[in-house]
């Protein structure tokens, strides 16, 4: 069903946009002391968005706005998870940002704009919509990184992020324009049909594909387009790092899936070859370089690079199972990343960032509970059962073995062995070393509860991963149409 009058599938986006404007106005009328009102409004908005998303769900795939926008099961699931991730990020960062004077209306408005960008990315079905969503997300993130105006590191990070991000967007647009030139269309389905039919100029299409893949790799932070990741993760205030490292990964998954699978599936041999190089490079560089880091945020940046390499493996398999496993990986990664950055913020205080490895020394003696939660998160990132991180790796590996890439699976597990070393080092620091500081950890009820739910969720999903796995598999199968 494609009509200009049916707005319902886009209702969550429309509602979010309206609420963002309302919140911007309301916030400008509020005193600094009553910022909590804005915060509660934002949380409420996200909750209502979730209700609308569930309420407007219809079976099957709905196209609206002349095929610019699509509403399917995958987009709804990803959107719900995005609201959840953003809302968790807000809970984690409330106190952290308050003591740093960053808990402002701009922060929350930008967060909502970024969320809107992600939602558009998730539901886009046209090169232009995809680009629109991506830019809305990126521009909001650039501004958020720069929000801490008096920090040189944050400003530098924002600058780098902006310049490199703009370059990546340029590459992506250039690629898209070539595909447009070759196929005469911007709609994913039409592009796919045009390539399939063989009327499109093959050289031009593949040339465009190279640029598109480069642009995607940039956004994912895959090697060799990863340079911005460590600097941005390190320089940005931790709350912003958490936002960059969690929900956008879900949107980026959708972005990659829409472009490569829905739009360019006929070129699967071409792009899976490119992704093999990107994936191996990311896993190698990410895991090996992470070992040398002493700053936790930098270490997680490199670990993200490695994880994105793993996520790409699912796409390389070129099968619907593979895409489902990639989606599962993205969801699991977002969950773990939220927990890990949440822990950094939980241990930070006014004027002090708990973001070096030494800050985690002897955590088991300062707080056995937090240490255990971090242990679960780290083992999950390393992919050790019975945590959910294992199943993420497992399902991706299964997909590539199924497609005959056994050697690639071996390479992947060898690099994840290297990766296990630096996650293990954190556990080692927490459990085997003596603490350097005995400053009391301040337990805020909301963040303590959330980190417990988050980490135990990692364990629980590890014991019973079936449901989430099936949700991902089914939503990908129902949504990604292989034309």
């Amino acid at each position: 069903m494609d009509s200009m009058t049916n707005f319902m599938p886009a209702a969550p986006e429309i509602f979010l946009l309206v609420m963002t404007c309302v919140i911007l106005i309301t916030d400008s009328l509020l005193k600094n002391s009553s910022r909590m009102v804005t915060y509660m409004l934002v949380q409420l908005t996200l909750m209502i968005c979730a209700l609308i998303t569930v309420g407007t769900h219809v079976n099957g795939v709905t196209y609206i706005f002349h095929g610019m926008f699509v509403d399917d099961l995958m987009s709804d699931v990803l959107k719900l998870l995005t609201y959840l991730a953003v809302s968790m990020m807000l809970v984690y960062s409330r106190l952290y940002l308050t003591v740093r004077g960053l808990f402002s209306g701009e922060f929350m408005a930008l967060t909502l704009f970024a969320t809107l960008g992600m939602m558009v990315m998730i539901s886009a079905n046209n090169f232009l919509t995809l680009y629109l969503g991506l830019e809305l997300l990126s521009l909001s993130l650039y501004a958020m990184v720069a929000l801490q105006r008096d920090s040189a590191a944050a400003t530098e990070a924002a600058m780098k992020y902006f310049i490199l991000g703009a370059l990546a967007s340029g590459l992506l647009l250039y690629g898209m324009s070539m595909l447009y030139g070759a196929t005469g269309s911007l709609g994913l389905e039409a592009v796919s049909h045009a390539i399939q039919s063989g009327h499109a100029n093959k050289t031009l299409v593949v040339f465009g594909l190279v640029f598109v893949v480069s642009g995607l790799a940039f956004k994912l932070g895959a090697v060799p387009f990863h340079m911005w990741v460590p600097d941005v993760y390190h320089g940005a205030p931790t709350a912003m790092t958490m936002l960059i490292g969690s929900a956008p990964k879900l949107a980026t998954f959708a972005f990659v899936a829409r472009i490569l699978v829905e739009g360019l599936q006929p070129l699967v041999q071409h792009w899976s070859g490119m992704l093999v190089i990107l994936a191996i490079g990311s896993m190698a560089l990410g895991n090996i370089t992470a070992i040398a880091q002493t700053n936790l945020k930098r270490m997680f940046a490199y670990s993200t690079i490695a994880h994105m390499g793993f996520l790409l493996l699912g796409f390389i398999s070129g099968s619907i199972e593979g895409y489902g496993s990639s989606m599962f990986y993205a969801v699991v990664y977002a969950l773990m990343s939220l927990g890990a950055f949440g822990m950094i913020m939980l241990l930070s205080r006014a004027g002090f960032e708990a973001d070096t490895l030494d800050d985690f020394k002897g955590l088991n003696q300062r707080s056995p509970w937090l240490a255990f939660m971090m242990l679960l998160l780290m083992f999950s990132m390393a992919g050790v059962p019975p945590t959910v991180g294992f199943y993420a790796k497992f399902s991706v590996l299964n997909a590539i073995v199924q497609s005959g890439y056994v050697w690639l699976a071996v390479v992947a597990v060898l690099f994840s062995l290297i990766g296990a070393f630096y996650y293990l080092r954190i556990v080692k620091l927490m459990y085997f070393d003596a603490p350097e500081t005995h400053t009391k950890i301040v337990f805020e009820p909301d963040t303590t509860l959330l980190i417990s739910v988050n980490s135990l969720g990692v364990l629980l999903l590890g014991l019973l991963p079936g449901a989430l796995m099936s949700v991902c598999a089914v939503s990908v199968r129902q949504s990604l149409l292989l034309h």
């Binding site: 088991n364 056995p368 242990l375 083992f379 050790v384 059962p385 019975p386 294992f390 199943y391 497992f394 399902s395 590996l397 299964n398 073995v401 199924q402 056994v406 699976a409 071996v410 597990v413 060898l414 994840s416 062995l417 296990a420 070393f421 293990l424 080092r425 556990v427 080692k428 459990y431 085997f432 019973l464 991963p465 079936g466 796995m469 099936s470 598999a473």
Partner: protein, 495 residues
């Protein structure tokens, strides 16, 4: 009535639940409560495994006490448990040692008692899970989960160089496990979507793939056994682990590797196993002879017993890969016996270490003068380690040598040299520690065994002697399953 209980599930989860309860007692103020709770959990954990022995049907090689529930339907993974004659003994060994380890750490462990006890209880449940899983993914989950508590046990309560040892232990074992994971996934696709280990036993696999799978399994299991080139983590881990950790490592963890060969390598890739048997036998013999010599030169008691373990496990892998009934049954008996004997020896060293805080042989001498009861127990276990007839150590070694003679005299000749080396390093250590003049004032002040220690050693002594004098109750359980395994191993699975 009793048999309607899911016995294996209870055996797995009861210790784990008690472990969590023990953890919940919190910090060291509640240490007495933690100890008692841990003991109750460990003893109950042992009691619930007894029906596995009494109710075991001895004349079938089918899986018994089977439990099967859907777990991850997306990949057709089941929560599938069951035991045959091979695994049931290991489960009993595990549950038997848990109370002993708890008891051994009763007084000695003073910091973070709850975490220590909980680690062992959870560990026990997980290891029973490893031995009873019939689904490859379930097996893998238990297999890897085993690493986490052991990593903490070595790293938190170990000696001076504990961190190095813990990390080495973890990374070594993880390398093997990950390659195994790839092999398991390959097999899953080969069987057309089943992770049942018993289905893996039936699927036809071409030779090249068989060899690659064998290598993947080999890295996983050989590291755990440990076999010759990848054994170096064991002395480090042992020396740095607390007594309880050493006991669990030697008595059970090492068996997990050999169990893997039995359950995975040999029946799943029999052709590759035969093709590469020569390599396996060579590595086993190197372990037996070379590591035996290495043990001779050790100055640290724990290191000595650790090397002795590697040498004895060489016997086990030798027995497995000569592919006859004597060899395989002997290997299994050797594993069980080695569990008791090496566990007991580590406990003996623990007793000395608790009093003297030294594991150096040179710091001792004339202990018999101050600790006569201890010296007697130590003697018995040392003799069992040597393989003296009448002790459990003899039965397994004898059968393996008998089996080896059947396949090749010179293999047997090399293997039999262990009877000399083993006697040399064990008895020489015993002589230097126990006999002679009282070495120094510290030895003169030693006190003999406490009641708690006497209980532990008496139980172990009866088991070691009982197994040596009357091994039939064990071998009759093994027999049918071993024969079945040999039939499997002899059947070619080339397509």
């Amino acid at each position: 009535m009793f048999f309607e209980l899911p016995v294996i599930s209870v055996a797995i989860w009861l210790p784990i639940i008690f472990g969590i309860l023990v953890l919940a007692t919190g910090d060291d103020k509640n240490a007495p409560l933690a100890r008692i709770l841990a003991m109750v959990g460990a003893v109950l954990g042992f009691l619930v495994t007894i029906p596995l022995y009494t109710g075991f049907v001895r004349d079938t090689s089918d899986m018994q006490f089977v439990e099967m529930h859907a777990w991850i339907s997306r990949f057709n993974i089941h929560y599938h448990l069951g035991v045959d004659g091979i695994s049931v003994l290991f489960i009993l060994l595990t549950s038997f040692f848990t109370p002993i380890v708890v008891l051994a750490g009763w007084k000695v462990i003073e910091k973070r008692v709850a975490q220590y006890m909980a680690s062992f209880l959870i560990m026990s449940g997980i290891m029973i899970g490893v031995f009873s899983s019939l689904d490859a993914v379930l097996f893998y989950v238990f297999w890897e989960a085993m690493l986490i508590p052991m990593f903490l046990i070595i790293g938190v309560w170990g000696g001076a160089n504990r961190v190095y040892a813990a990390v080495k232990f973890f990374l070594y074992t993880l390398l093997g496990s990950l390659l195994m994971l790839v092999a398991l996934i390959y097999l899953y696709n080969k069987t057309g979507g089943s992770f049942e280990i018993l289905d893996f036993h039936l699927v036809a696999i071409p030779m090249t793939a068989q060899i690659l799978i064998f290598i993947a399994f080999f890295t996983a299991f050989a590291v755990k056994v440990p076999m010759f080139p990848v054994h170096t983590w064991l002395p480090d881990a042992h020396v740095e682990a607390p007594t309880g950790g050493s006991v669990i490592l030697a008595a059970i963890m090492l068996k997990v590797g050999a169990y893997g060969f039995l359950r995975f390598s040999i029946p799943i890739v029999p052709d590759a196993s035969h093709r590469l048997a020569g390599v396996m036998i060579a590595l086993s013999l190197i372990a037996v002879v070379y590591i035996g010599l290495v043990a001779l030169t050790q100055t640290d008691m724990k290191k000595l017993v650790a090397y002795s373990s590697i040498s004895h496990m060489g016997f086990v892998t030798l027995g497995l890969f000569i592919f006859n009934e004597y060899g395989m049954e002997g290997a299994l008996l050797q594993m069980i016996s080695h569990g008791f004997v090496s566990g007991a020896l580590f406990l003996c060293i623990g007793v000395l270490y608790d009093r003297m805080h030294s594991r150096n042989i040179a710091d001792y001498g004339g202990v018999v003068k101050t600790m006569p009861v201890f010296a007697a127990f130590f003697m018995l276990f040392a003799m069992a380690n040597v393989g003296l007839p009448g002790t459990s150590g003899f039965v397994g070694e004898f059968m393996v040598i008998l089996g080896t003679v059947k396949s090749n005299f010179w293999y047997a000749f090399a293997a039999a040299s262990t009877l000399i080396f083993g006697a040399a390093y064990t008895l020489w250590m015993y002589k230097r520690v126990i006999f002679g003049a009282v070495a120094n004032a510290h030895v003169a002040e030693l006190t003999d065994l406490t009641l708690r220690e006497k209980v532990i050693f008496t139980v172990l002594a009866f088991t070691v002697l009982g197994m040596g004098l009357y091994p039939l109750p064990l071998s009759e359980i093994l027999h049918v399953s071993v024969n079945d395994l040999l039939v499997h191993a002899a059947r070619s699975k080339l397509p």
